[in-house]
C-alpha cells in the first residue's frame, strides 16, 4: 500500500496514543470518541462515493441498524455486547446486500433518491416499532463493553477501543484500495461501461463496496450504542445521512484520509458553533455549499495541491 500510507498510519497511531496524555479533559476525549465513530462511517463512504462513484444518502440508516440491533439484543435479550455487535454487522450487512442489488443498477440522482427513501423508511420503522425500539422516546440502560472482567466505563477506555478499530478499518480499507479490487472500483468511477467491457464485473464490486461501507457504519453504530447507552431515532435520520456525505465531501471524497479529516472537522466545528446556537445550520450549509462550489475535490486534496504548488 505504499510507504507514505504506512508512515501516515504509524503517525496516526502515535498521535492517538499520545493525545489522552495531553488532554486531561474528558470533554475533549468525549468529542474524539465521536470523531472516531464517525470516521468509521466516512471511511466506508469514501470507498463507496469517492473511489467507486456511487452516492448514498441513506447511510445513517446503516449506522442506526447497527446501533439498534446491538442495543436491542444486549438490553432486551441479554446478549453480550460483543456478540450483539457481530449480530449487528450481519443484520446490517444482510439488509445492505438486499438493497444493493437492485439499487446499484441505478445511477446518479436515481441512486441518491433510492438510498434516501431507504434511509427514511428505516427511520420510520425505528419510530414506529415501539415494542422493540421504544419508539420516538427510545430506550436506555444499554450495557457497556467488557474485556474479560474489565468493564469499559470511562471515555478513555472507549477512546482507545474506538480508535483501535479505526486503525484496523483504515488498514483494511487501504489494503483494498491498493489491490486489484481497489483498481476495479476506481475504473467503475471512471467509466462503468468501459470497465465492464474490459472485464470487470462491475455489479459485483459495487455491491461488495456498498455492503462493506454498511458494515463499517454498523460497527460504528454498535460502538455508539454501547458508549452512549441510550438510543432514540433522532441521530439516525435523513439529516445525519447528509452530515455524513458532507463530512466526506468536505474532507475530500477520493481519500480515506480526507474522509477522516472531514469527520473530525464537522464533529469538532459544531461544538464551537454551539456558541451560535441555532445559527449553526446556516454556517453548516454555507460551508458545504462553498466547498462544493470552489473545492469539489475537498479540503484535503485542495491543501495537498497548495503544498505541491508551493514547492
Amino acid at each position: 500500500m505504499g510507504r507514505k500510507n504506512i508512515l501516515s498510519l504509524l503517525i496516526l497511531a502515535g498521535v492517538i496514543l499520545a493525545l489522552p496524555l495531553g488532554l486531561g479533559n474528558s470533554y475533549y476525549l468525549n468529542v474524539l470518541v465521536f470523531v472516531g465513530i464517525y470516521s468509521l462511517i466516512t471511511i466506508g463512504l469514501s470507498l463507496l462515493m469517492g473511489y467507486t462513484g456511487q452516492i448514498s444518502l441513506g447511510h445513517a440508516a446503516f449506522f442506526g441498524l447497527g446501533a439498534y440491533t446491538s442495543g436491542v439484543l444486549s438490553t432486551k435479550f441479554g446478549v453480550s455486547p460483543w456478540l450483539a455487535l457481530l449480530a449487528g454487522i450481519f443484520v446490517t450487512g444482510g439488509i445492505a446486500f438486499l438493497i444493493a442489488a437492485p439499487a446499484l443498477k441505478l445511477k446518479g440522482h436515481y441512486l441518491a433518491m433510492a438510498t434516501l427513501a431507504f434511509g427514511y423508511i428505516v427511520f420510520i420503522v425505528f419510530n414506529q416499532a415501539s415494542s422493540l425500539t421504544g419508539g420516538p422516546s427510545g430506550f436506555g440502560q444499554i450495557p457497556r463493553f467488557r474485556l474479560g472482567n474489565f468493564l469499559l466505563r470511562s471515555d478513555v477506555h472507549y477512546y482507545y477501543l474506538v480508535w483501535t478499530l479505526v486503525i484496523v478499518v483504515l488498514l483494511v480499507s487501504l489494503n483494498i484500495i491498493h489491490s486489484r479490487v481497489g483498481r476495479a472500483l476506481r475504473s467503475i468511477h471512471e467509466g462503468e461501461l468501459t470497465a465492464n467491457i474490459m472485464g470487470v464485473n462491475t455489479a459485483k464490486y459495487k455491491i461488495q463496496v456498498f455492503v462493506l461501507s454498511a458494515v463499517y457504519a454498523s460497527l460504528a453504530g454498535s460502538l455508539y450504542a454501547h458508549f452512549i447507552t441510550f438510543l432514540n431515532p433522532t441521530p439516525f435520520g435523513f439529516h445525519f445521512s447528509i452530515v455524513l456525505v458532507a463530512m466526506v465531501a468536505v474532507g475530500g471524497m477520493a481519500s480515506v484520509w480526507g474522509a477522516m479529516i472531514g469527520a473530525a472537522l464537522l464533529t469538532i466545528l459544531p461544538e464551537y458553533l454551539r456558541a451560535f446556537q441555532d445559527y449553526d445550520i446556516l454556517i453548516y450549509g454555507s460551508i458545504l455549499l462553498l466547498i462544493m462550489m470552489f473545492l469539489p475535490q475537498g479540503l484535503f486534496a485542495g491543501i495537498l495541491r497548495l503544498i505541491k504548488k508551493e514547492r
Binding site: 439499487a103 433510492a114 423508511i121 419510530n127 455549499l289
Partner: protein, 297 residues
C-alpha cells in the same frame, strides 16, 4: 360514518394532498427537463411559499390576494437567485457535486426560514370560510376546492406556456436535446435560470395553498420533496401528465393507508412506492423506457 362514507372521506383527503404532491413533482420535472438536475431543495420552495404567505398576511398584514402573488414572486426570485449563485458558476460539475449543492441549498433555505420566522409551526386562515361542504355523506373543506382549482389553473398555464409561447417552446427544446437547442440559437443558460424560477414559483404556490389545511413549519421541506420526487418518478420523470396522475395515486394511497392501516407508517407509503418503481420500472408509469436509459447521468 359507514365504511363507504369513510372511504369517500379518505378519497377526498387523498385528492387534496395528492394535488400538492403533483405540483411539487411538476417543479422537479421542469428543472430536470431543462438541466438533468434533481433539485433536492424543491421541498424548500414549498415551505418558503407557505411561510412567506403567513408572514405577509399575519405580520405585514397585507391583503390575502396581494400576499398570494407577492409570496410567489419572492420565492420565484429566490429560486432564480439560487440558480445564479450556486448552479450557474459551476463548470461541468459531477452528479455528486450537484446533489450535495442542492442539499446544501436546502439546508440554507431551512436555516434561513428558521432564522427569519422561528421554529414554531404557523397557520393560515383558509381562503374562503371554514364551513365544510357535505358531499354524499363525506365532507370537503372549501380550501380543497381552492387547491384543486389553483392546481388546475397552474397546469393550464403550464400547458399554454409550453405549448404556445416561444420561451416555453425553447424550454421544451432544451429538454429534448440541449446541444441541438443551443445550436439553433436558444440560450440554454437562460432556460436553466427560467426553469429554476418557474419551479420555485410552482413550489411556492403549492406551499401557500396547502398551509391552511396542513400548517407549515421550517422543517417541512424535506419530506415534501421526497414525496414529490416519489410522485415524479412514479409518473415518469419529465412527464407532466404523469406527475398529476401519480400525485393523485400516491395521495389517495397515503390517505387510505393512514386510515385503514396505520397512521404512523403513512409517510413510508410514498417511499415504498418510490423504491418499488425505481427497482422495477425506473421509467415510471408514463415515461418511456428508452428515455430513461438514454438520459444517463
Amino acid at each position: 360514518m359507514s365504511l363507504g362514507d369513510q372511504l369517500l372521506q379518505y378519497l377526498f383527503t387523498g385528492i387534496t394532498i395528492g394535488a400538492i404532491y403533483g405540483m411539487v413533482a411538476l417543479g422537479f420535472n421542469i428543472i430536470y427537463s431543462a438541466t438533468g438536475i434533481i433539485n433536492l431543495a424543491q421541498g424548500e420552495f414549498v415551505m418558503l411559499g407557505g411561510m412567506m404567505m403567513v408572514y405577509l398576511t399575519a405580520i405585514i398584514k397585507l391583503p390575502m390576494v396581494v400576499s398570494f402573488f407577492l409570496s410567489i414572486l419572492i420565492v420565484t426570485a429566490i429560486g432564480a437567485a439560487f440558480e445564479r449563485a450556486a448552479i450557474h458558476p459551476l463548470k461541468s460539475p459531477s452528479v455528486i457535486t450537484l446533489i450535495i449543492i442542492t442539499v446544501a441549498a436546502s439546508i440554507l433555505f431551512k436555516g434561513g426560514a428558521m432564522f427569519a420566522w422561528g421554529k414554531h409551526t404557523v397557520s393560515l386562515s383558509p381562503f374562503s370560510g371554514e364551513e365544510p361542504i357535505s358531499v354524499l355523506g363525506a365532507t370537503i373543506l372549501p380550501q380543497t376546492l381552492w387547491i384543486l382549482g389553483i392546481m388546475a389553473a397552474t397546469v393550464a398555464l403550464l400547458i399554454l406556456f409550453f405549448g404556445f409561447t416561444l420561451t416555453g417552446k425553447a424550454m421544451r427544446a432544451c429538454a429534448a436535446n440541449r446541444t441541438a437547442a443551443s445550436l439553433v440559437g436558444i440560450n440554454v443558460k437562460t432556460m436553466v435560470l427560467l426553469s429554476f424560477a418557474l419551479s420555485a414559483g410552482i413550489g411556492a404556490t403549492a406551499g401557500i395553498i396547502i398551509t391552511p389545511i396542513a400548517l407549515m413549519n421550517y422543517d417541512r421541506g424535506t419530506m415534501l420533496a421526497v414525496k414529490g420526487f416519489s410522485v415524479a418518478v412514479l409518473g415518469g420523470l419529465g412527464s407532466n401528465v404523469g406527475a398529476v396522475v401519480a400525485g393523485f395515486i400516491i395521495g389517495i394511497m397515503e390517505s387510505l393507508g393512514a386510515g385503514f392501516i396505520s397512521s404512523g407508517y403513512k409517510d413510508a407509503i410514498a417511499l415504498v412506492v418510490l423504491l418499488l418503481v425505481l427497482f422495477l420500472k425506473p421509467s415510471g408509469l408514463l415515461g418511456s423506457r428508452e428515455r430513461a436509459e438514454f438520459k444517463k447521468f
